[in-house]
Every structure is written in structure tokens, then in C-alpha cells.
């Protein structure tokens, strides 16, 4: 029997506020010693009262709007009860039946087709404490609690089960991360835990509307892990169903080392949250004016920006997608396009050239040095890159330009200074190149004989020799032409 895979994702995003969700403890806990950003509120001491962080509400509305959600006029917080020592209060303040964002959508690109994925809800809650599991010397196991993370604003984005493959799930996650980063509401880093994903996955027999019991998969700490875990789970469920065995609804954890998911004894996690309206927090009434105001301040989002880049700069869909995948990269691109330096190139060439350099050599340097575009920009600003691009058209060849860019990144010097100091500008004197070509022909009998015997490849070796002798300053096309003329003219 053929099965279809059905996936819905729940994403938790830590918001980039200065203080926690319900108290004024700092959120900069990542490198801090345990229990150093903790106060009576996040410690849940008796008699304390939570107060809602306005900025967290604003960030959540921004995200909900970017995901085309309806923002209700009335919203409130609720208590979600569960006994686990990562919660100081014994309950988590979350939102149950009146979330901040409702019924939205997000478009993804799947198999070169745009596909719309429903967003069920976007709500605001608080992060929980971190637990470390230990075993003492006499074999007793115990846990250690660090409350620093507890109370950090956490936004949950619940997607509809509209995804049909691990690849679609990956696309959806990347798009979502790109959006929250554009909005600058989160660092959205999966490895660091500021962007987390749980997946509901099930299969259904083709032509059926009924899914078999689903699994909720947890513990996936990278995009790759999500993709691999879903691939594994889709395969596992098909195998179980095909063998005529029964699937059970359960929570399964992804184990990176073995590349498998394992059952997490779902009975221990009986979902009996006994939600109740949070009596300590009055409801939030959100006026249409406020929603309109927030909407008017939203930045241009990745999808819109990509479409504009294609239309305005005549870039390919592929290049435009890559250039707009981060807001900083897109800003750098447009800043470079506006520099005086780049205006020395014909208008029709500018965007394509900048795109090529950013996605090519600049990206290679960023990957090699493990820096992002913001860091790259501190070494090589848009006007410096513009200057280099113009140089690569006039005074130096492409290979040299790449080396110059690397030196610019390392030293912070300008392209023209490096080129002048190191004497790198292309030899425009035809006589000087001519002399080198003659010398190389005279001293490489074998390669010359090979070429004349019909081995066309040999010319590359000879070009290489001339380039070496001129320290890369000759124009390789000119050299090739000169060599051909001389060899064939003899």
C-alpha cells in the first residue's frame, strides 16, 4: 500500500527582549554562571506577581502579522499545569484559547512550486529552567536546576499539518527562521536553542482522509536533525504499517548518534494540563489602531524582497532567494549598489556583478572564516567591495581580484592600495606580454610540440607559465590569443 506523509511543526522561538517575560531579570544568561539572573518572581516565591513585558507582546504581534494571522481584540494568559522541576511555579504561564495570533499562513517553495502552509496560532509563553542530569559516586542519580532561562519570553508558532515531506518541513523552518530574523525579534539559532522545533508526523493510506496514530518527535537541534528525524520516522511508520502491526500515538526522541527515534514512554507524559485562566494577569485588549501601527512599521519581508529583487535588479530567482535569505545580506547588496564606486560600471552590469561577488568569493571567505555578513561588512564595507569589483573590470584579473578581496578582509585595506602596493595591476603593455609569451614558447619544447601535434589542452599549461611569470598580472584571454597566434603562425 502507498502512504502519504503528514507533518505539522511546532516551533518555539526565544524573543530578543532585554528582560524576562514577567519580571525584570536580564535575559543575557547564555554565558552566565547558574542562578545569577533570578528574582523572587521567576523563582516563584509566594506572594510575587508577574507583570507582562510589553516588548514581548509587540514582537509576537509583529511575527503574527508577518504570518498573516488575525490579531484578536481580546487575548489573555492561562496556566498550564504540569509537575516537572523545570517549572518553578508548578505551571507555565502560556496562552490557551485566546492566543495573540490566529489562523495565518506561510508560503514555501516546494519542487519549484509555491505552496501555502497554514499557521494555526502564534502565542506567547515563558521558557523553563535548565536541568542537568547527574549520577553521584555511589550511583545515585539526581538533577541540577539552573533557573536563569526560566521566564525568558518564548513565542510558540503552531503550523497546520499541511507539510507532506521532510523537505517541505525543512523549507518551512528555514522560511520561518528567515522571517523572525528579518523582524529582529529573535536570534533564531537552532544549535543555541533560541529556535526549537517539535514535529507531529503521521502517515495515511493513499486516497484516505484518516491518518494513522501520529508521533510527536522531539530533541532535534539542527535543520539537518529535523530532516533526518522525519525521514527516519516516515520510513519507520511505513514499515510498521506494512508489516500489519499497529502504530501507537506517542512521543519519540531523536537520537543524533544512532540516527533513530526512540519512544519516550508516553504514559509518563499524560497530557493533563488542567489549563485555567491566569488570575495574576489581567487580559490584554489590543486595539485595531495598535495593530495597524505595528503593521505599518514591519520591514519588507524576505518573500516580498526577493520578488522585488527579481523585478527591479533582473536577478535570477535563485540568486535573489540567496541574497534575500538574510536581511543583512540584502541590505549589504543594496548599499553596495548605491555606492559611487560601483557607478563606474554600466548600470545593467552592477546588480549581477555584486550578486556574483557576494554569493561567490565573499561567501567563500565568510564560510572559511566562520563569520556572517555583518562581521564581513566590518572588514569590507559595501563601498570597498564596489571598488574591488570595478578594479576587477579594469586593472586586475578575476583570480587576482579574489586574492585581493581576501587581503582586504584580513587587513581592512582598500583594493586600490593593495593593488598599487603590491604592483598587481594588469600588464596593459602588449609588448611586455609579448616578450613573456616568446620566452615561454622558447623554453617549453614539449608542450609546444604537444600542441602542434593536436593536443589542444597543452595551451593551458603554456598560459599558466606566462601567468606565473607575470605574477598573475597578465590578462589570461590576451595571453591565450597571443600564444595561439604565435604557435599557429610558425
Amino acid at each position: 500500500m502507498n502512504f502519504e506523509t503528514v507533518i505539522g511543526l511546532e516551533v518555539h522561538v526565544q524573543l530578543l527582549t532585554k528582560s524576562k517575560m514577567f519580571c525584570s531579570c536580564s535575559t543575557e544568561y547564555s554565558d552566565a554562571p547558574p542562578n545569577t539572573f533570578v528574582c523572587p518572581v521567576c523563582l516563584a516565591l509566594p506572594g510575587t506577581l508577574p507583570v507582562i513585558n510589553q516588548q514581548a507582546v509587540e514582537y509576537t504581534i509583529m511575527t503574527a502579522l508577518a504570518l498573516h494571522c488575525h490579531i484578536p481584540g481580546y487575548t489573555k494568559f492561562d496556566r498550564k499545569n504540569y509537575p516537572y522541576p523545570d517549572l518553578m511555579k508548578g505551571y507555565q504561564i502560556s496562552q490557551y484559547d485566546a492566543p495573540l495570533g490566529q489562523r495565518g499562513w506561510l508560503d514555501i517553495e516546494a519542487n519549484d512550486q509555491r505552496k501555502r502552509i497554514g499557521i494555526t496560532r502564534v502565542h506567547l509563553e515563558e521558557d523553563v529552567a535548565k536541568l542537568l542530569h547527574r549520577t553521584s559516586v555511589n550511583g545515585e542519580s539526581y538533577s541540577l536546576v539552573d533557573v536563569n532561562r526560566s521566564g525568558v519570553p518564548l513565542m510558540e508558532i503552531v503550523g497546520e499539518p499541511d507539510l507532506r515531506s521532510p523537505e517541505e518541513a525543512r523549507q518551512y523552518l528555514m522560511k520561518l527562521r528567515s522571517i523572525v530574523r528579518y523582524l529582529r525579534v529573535s536570534m533564531a539559532n537552532m544549535e543555541e536553542g533560541s529556535f526549537r522545533c517539535d514535529a507531529n508526523i503521521s502517515i495515511r493510506p493513499e486516497n484516505s482522509t484518516e491518518c494513522l496514530p501520529r508521533a510527536e518527535v522531539k530533541n532535534m537541534n539542527s535543520f539537518r536533525a529535523v530532516y533526518r528525524a522525519l525521514e527516519y520516522e516516515a520510513r519507520r511508520q511505513r514499515k510498521v504499517a506494512t508489516e500489519g502491526k499497529r502504530l501507537v500515538q506517542e512521543t519519540r526522541g531523536w537520537v543524533e548518534k544512532t540516527g533513530k527515534t526512540v519512544s519516550m514512554r508516553s504514559k509518563e507524559y499524560a497530557h493533563d494540563y488542567r489549563y485555567l485562566p491566569e488570575p495574576d494577569l489581567p487580559p490584554l485588549i489590543i486595539s485595531q489602531e495598535r495593530v495597524n501601527d505595528i503593521e505599518s512599521r514591519l520591514p519588507e519581508l524576505p518573500g516580498t524582497k526577493r520578488d522585488r529583487f527579481i523585478a527591479e535588479y533582473r536577478l535570477s530567482t535563485y540568486d535573489a532567494s540567496l541574497l534575500t535569505s538574510s536581511r543583512e545580506m540584502a541590505d549589504y547588496f543594496e548599499a553596495c549598489l548605491k555606492t559611487e564606486e560601483i557607478k563606474q560600471l554600466p548600470q545593467g552590469k552592477r546588480a549581477k556583478e555584486i550578486g556574483n561577488w557576494l554569493l561567490g568569493e565573499a561567501s567563500r571567505i565568510m564560510n572559511a572564516k566562520n563569520v556572517d555578513i555583518s562581521e564581513f561588512s566590518r572588514h569590507v564595507g559595501p563601498s570597498q567591495l564596489g571598488e574591488l569589483i570595478v578594479c576587477s573590470h579594469n586593472t586586475i584579473n578575476t583570480a587576482t581580484a579574489k586574492a585581493v578581496l581576501e587581503e582586504m578582509f584580513d587587513t581592512g585595506k582598500r583594493a586600490n592600495d593593495i593593488i598599487n602596493q603590491r604592483g598587481l595591476s594588469q600588464i596593459s603593455d602588449a609588448g611586455a606580454i609579448d616578450a613573456e609569451v616568446t620566452r615561454v614558447i622558447a623554453s617549453n619544447h614539449q608542450a609546444v610540440a604537444d600542441y602542434k601535434a593536436g593536443k589542444a589542452q597543452s595551451i593551458k599549461f603554456l598560459v599558466g607559465q606566462v601567468m606565473k611569470a607575470t605574477r598573475g598580472r597578465a590578462n589570461p584571454q590576451v595571453v591565450t590569443e597571443l600564444l595561439k597566434q604565435k604557435l599557429e603562425g610558425e
Binding site: 554562571p33 547558574p34 542562578n35 528574582c39 523572587p40 542530569h133 526522541g253 514512554r265 489581567p282 490584554l284
Partner: protein, 97 residues
Amino acid sequence: MEVSRQEVLHIARLARLGLTKTEVTKLSGELSIILKNFELLQQVETTNIPPTAQSIALQNVTRSDQASASLTPNEVLANAPRKEGGFFRVRAVLDNT
């Protein structure tokens, strides 16, 4: 509606309460009476009354996003029955990984 012994035990488990047999019997009776009272309340005509989640007439109580000093680690751990290296130490939590 009667609250069964089984339901009492389930609720007690969720609240991490250990109950004796006598307590279960007692609570089963008491919780049943509380529920009956709510059943009585349900007879009140509420068609035109909007549901409320709050009994105080406040709304939009928020604070601006400013961080301020937290407690010192010593203060945080002052009342902890067990601590270790700046952490609270608790009984083993089921490790699922």
C-alpha cells in the same frame, strides 16, 4: 456527578499528593459535593452574559522592557534543601534521552 476514587487518585497524582485510603474516600465525597454545587450554578441563565476569565476590572497591565538587578546566587539558594555548585539539587528526573 460522583467523583470516583480513581479520579481522586489521578488528580492527586497530577498534584504529586500522596493520599491514604481514608483520605481518598473523604475527598471523593467532598469533591462530589463541590461538583454538585457547580451543577446547580449551571442552571443560571447566562445566554447573554459574556464569559469572563477575571474577577477584577483591570486590563493591559504591562511593563516596559527594562532589565534590573537580580538576586545574588546566595540569596537565590538560601532556602534550598539541597544545592550543588550554584545549582538547586533535586531528585532524579526521568531522563528520556
